[in-house]
Symmetry: C3
Subunit: 434 residues, 3 copies
């Protein structure tokens, strides 16, 4: 097993932030060296495998596109001054821009400039993956001051045969049934969307690597849409093993947690996340599935229909910094990062521990007194279990209710029921169902 | 096909009103020449068939009654003046009155007078189909002024062997599965109840005759209760073809639309009407089935149990003019008539177009860009389709969700989903299910 | 049949109270002569059978305990004065106290004194059935005044081989399917908990003995927990006959009726009690099952899972007098006792009369007029039935809906539907389903 435990010295949120900080400057896209460099950084933390899928590979209805790389870019004004410079922000270049090195009039130039008139101080994030084009993104405040004249547009990029790169980490558990955790890695210098998701996934993976697990876990670090479609197309035979799944996106801002249910709407993962959020006793939001968003769109397409939900804090498009230069490291909230990771760990904890038991003394209540489980319970700290949790667990352990089901019906935290079940199991009153 | 198109020059609501105006003076009942004359007028517009079922015919638990006809009626007071006159209002005669020509005391007369003490200016509408009786209905204000003395009651009616008459229009569609539209035609000079229903049915039929339809449509113009029972008893073998049905009654007043669900409560027609009403974005009311009302009582009797709801504006008994001389042509609201017809046409539109498709690229999203369905959509007017509607349609076209189901889940108008499906179908992404 | 009818001269609530009054002074426990004496009193009213189950008998996971009896008990202070005296209140002795006759210091004594600091004027009710111990319960106000010194604790009790005693009354009906009514009889001088339940059960039994019943009825008068477990263990073969069941507890106080549903949550008894409470048009409370409370815990254990709910007024623990000397005869409310009994009789009435019928004229409505059921209904008092109740009953008597189902859907009182069904049955329009 990968050694990670001894590295954990700083608070986890600080480590999460540090990783985001390291990834932040890199210019990522759906293909290219930005992704490779990012995955290399992740690989220093967890033993992920890097896959390269050649340009032109047919994946379901799609084809892996040409690989895009960029070295430099700038726009010079009539007086020769640099108006935008890729080195200041990789958002300045329309992502997937074709190369150009040309003098053009202001009139021609305007067709290739993207701004946010309503947020004039921010640089927008724009892409043109499947329509070959070039362009610059800039502050509207600056754009308004541009004058007529001859400009020089320079983009030193390449769009060539190559490959699509993604990372995959498989953590084998006792069972081959697996949990899928997926995050998109195609955004350049944008922090909440989705360095936060990447960092949360990596640190959750670290925690799983440090212990024995019942389920196997598969983490995907993929470019949005084309990445999940590529993975699905190459791994159809593995899908039947996926029992639960989460897409992680926008999990670093100070907003409350939002969970978007799977297409099925009543998948186990939907109930698990809802219960974990309820048990936390903090405000959260549940949303029904809709076919817009991140890679849950692909995992929940009708022919795939996996039990995969989307775990977020403030959803994409609902925070003003979304897809702008303001989605930077300042947006990351340390408490939120901590809360995201601990909530995800609790989701995993419920997944791992959601056993179904059968009460071996189902006729009448068992005599708790003679087993030392009556009244004395609640006293000693190591056997501290709630009397009502014991009664609920005995009453509903009929082989049909999982611990989660019991916790939901009893309106008690999952862990309270789990502790009760553990004590009853030790006492020989419960039997695990297969 | 029946030629109707060239006649459509006036606004449809005006035509609907004109038909009501033409039918208004006729004294109808559950049998007799009033019904025949009315059906003859309808037959000038649509090619309906007129059925005659002889008195004495056993129909389920009932027997077709004697035929009733009336020529004239009046009541003369002690001074020889006409107190009520059938020629002024056919409501003045108790519907199905036996003939009489007799002088009687005021004391005897009072047993045969019906008034509305709480609406003293209105003539009530009363019937005595199955208890042989005679009587007059009059304004309470006038009744109060009557003095003792000898009166002369004169009713020139006949109650004899004859037949029950009803109209039936069958519009054959591509499929033999059919939609039933039923309205009662047994009320004399009452406008909202139910010349409005008759007129709406006729104009809906006209619209269906003018085009090719997927479903077959059967319109029934029948006397209430005994008419639907007669039709059901004579057509039991056709019932299995009825997929959807509506009873139309009281659809001409200015009130909001009220829809009373079928006995099943979750019949397709119930969902269709509800969705059409929701999409209209106007106030409406949904009611659960109850075994009181119009002929839905018969269509939804336990041994018949057809998916038939009742489409109304203000329900019977809930407008003050109900079953009185105030339910006259003044009660008709032109906007309401227009709205009723356009809503019914939209119901038919959903019935006709509620296809179920299968996404032929169900694994991951299909590449919309390469098919020109991404971003460019929303531009050109003839392919103007909503991007979210496309995504919902692709996501839920798994062969199990109809377009209606998709529209309901997506919380989008049916037509938005229909347009998306049409575009996807043309692009070859959807296949129609059988 | 047991003759009870002629005894009914006083109001039933007065009789219920008189029985509580007679039982009140007796010191009951889960075994012993107090129970025997109480059952003897009940046997004078209804022909119940008294069962004795020897100490040591294994019943499921439990063993019948030693029998406890007590003659006298007191605590004398340093000056020889009696501080507490069993003869003043049997609550003064910890129920199931082992015998003692010993001088002890105040320090030692304190370990054996139970008080209610927050209700200083009340004597608490405490038990120690399965942990051998001795003790006194007293007012906290008095306890606070005790001084250091030598005390004399005297409890003349015995804890010996003997038996557990319970009462059982089986009232045979036409069918062997049975209704279980259970109440606990183990509490000493406590009135609402549960002399009220005992008295209600006895008077309900009296009413059932006075008439012929469709169902058989089984009344259990048992010590809590160990009593129901004992009965269940000895009667497993009878459980399959139990169709409905109620535990009666705390039914004499002035609070509203509270019904706690069976574990199944949708058992017929749950629907029946809910409907009876609704029909009463008084405030009531419905609660979901929880595995805490009275003997419903045993009847609803997962391996038994009977359709048994718990019928209460103010639930245990929710009235301040609960398990204290204030739960005395003053707490009994005559109107509440009357209401409890009449409600239980109505529950039995619905159980007995909840037939399922089939409409023999299911196609269209039957002709009510020719059967004298139209209009004339509502007139004469002996056939006074509601027209809408007739229509609902005809419409839903499809062999699938019981009269209860119809009443619920029609939102009408059960008895209104029952009367309609009776009239329709007499007319030959309905057939009883087997």
């Amino acid at each position: 097993m990968y050694k990670t435990a001894k590295k954990i010295v700083r608070k986890e949120s600080e480590q999460m932030y540090a990783l985001m900080e390291k990834l932040y400057p890199i210019c990522r896209s759906i293909t290219g060296n930005g992704v490779r460099k990012s995955l290399q950084i992740l690989k220093e933390i967890v033993p992920l495998e890097v896959h390269e899928v050649p340009t032109g590979t047919v994946v379901f209805d799609w084809t892996v596109p040409k690989e895009w790389n960029i070295n430099d870019a700038w726009l010079k004004g009539p007086k020769g001054n640099r108006i935008v410079d890729f080195r200041n922000s990789n958002l300045h270049v329309l992502n997937y821009s074709t190369p150009i090195d040309q003098e053009i009039t202001f009139g021609e130039l305007k067709e290739h400039i993207f701004t946010l008139p309503e947020q004039p101080q921010l640089i927008p994030y724009r892409t043109s993956y499947y329509d070959e084009n070039w362009g610059f993104c800039m502050r509207h405040s600056k754009f308004k001051k541009l004058e007529a004249g001859t400009y020089h547009a320079y983009i030193d990029s390449s769009l060539e045969e190559g490959s699509l790169t993604y990372g995959e980490l498989y953590i084998e558990g006792e069972e081959k049934e697996e949990v899928l955790i997926s995050c998109h890695i195609c955004h350049p210098s944008l922090c909440n969307d989705n360095l936060s998701g990447i960092s949360a996934a990596i640190h959750l993976a670290q925690a799983l690597l440090a212990k024995k697990n019942r389920y196997s876990y598969r983490f995907l670090f993929i470019p949005g849409t084309i990445g999940s479609i590529t993975w699905l197309a190459r791994n159809e035979q593995k899908l039947e093993n996926i029992r639960h799944g989460l897409v992680l996106s926008c999990v670093g801002d100070a907003g409350n947690i939002t969970y978007k249910k799977s297409r099925r709407g009543d998948a186990k993962i939907d109930h698990i996340v809802q219960k974990v959020l309820e048990d936390k006793n903090e405000t959260y939001e549940l949303r029904d599935f809709s076919p817009y968003g991140y890679d849950e769109r692909q995992y929940c397409s009708p022919g795939i229909n996996l039990p995969v939900g989307c775990f977020m804090r403030t959803p994409f498009g609902e925070f003003p910094e979304y897809h702008t230069s303001a989605d930077n490291l300042d947006l990351a909230d340390m408490d939120a990062l901590e809360d995201t990771l601990s909530t995800l760990k609790q989701v995993v904890h419920v997944i791992e521990n959601n056993q179904t038991y059968r009460n071996l003394n189902p006729k009448g209540e068992p005599n708790l007194g003679k087993r030392g489980l009556y009244k004395r319970v609640g006293g000693a700290s190591d056997t501290e279990v709630d009397q009502m949790a014991i009664l609920w667990t005995l009453n509903l352990c009929d082989g049909k209710h999982s611990l989660l089901d019991i916790a939901v019906r009893a309106e008690m935290p999952f862990d309270k029921i789990k502790r009760a079940a553990a004590v009853l199991y030790e006492t020989g009153l419960l039997k695990e169902m297969n």
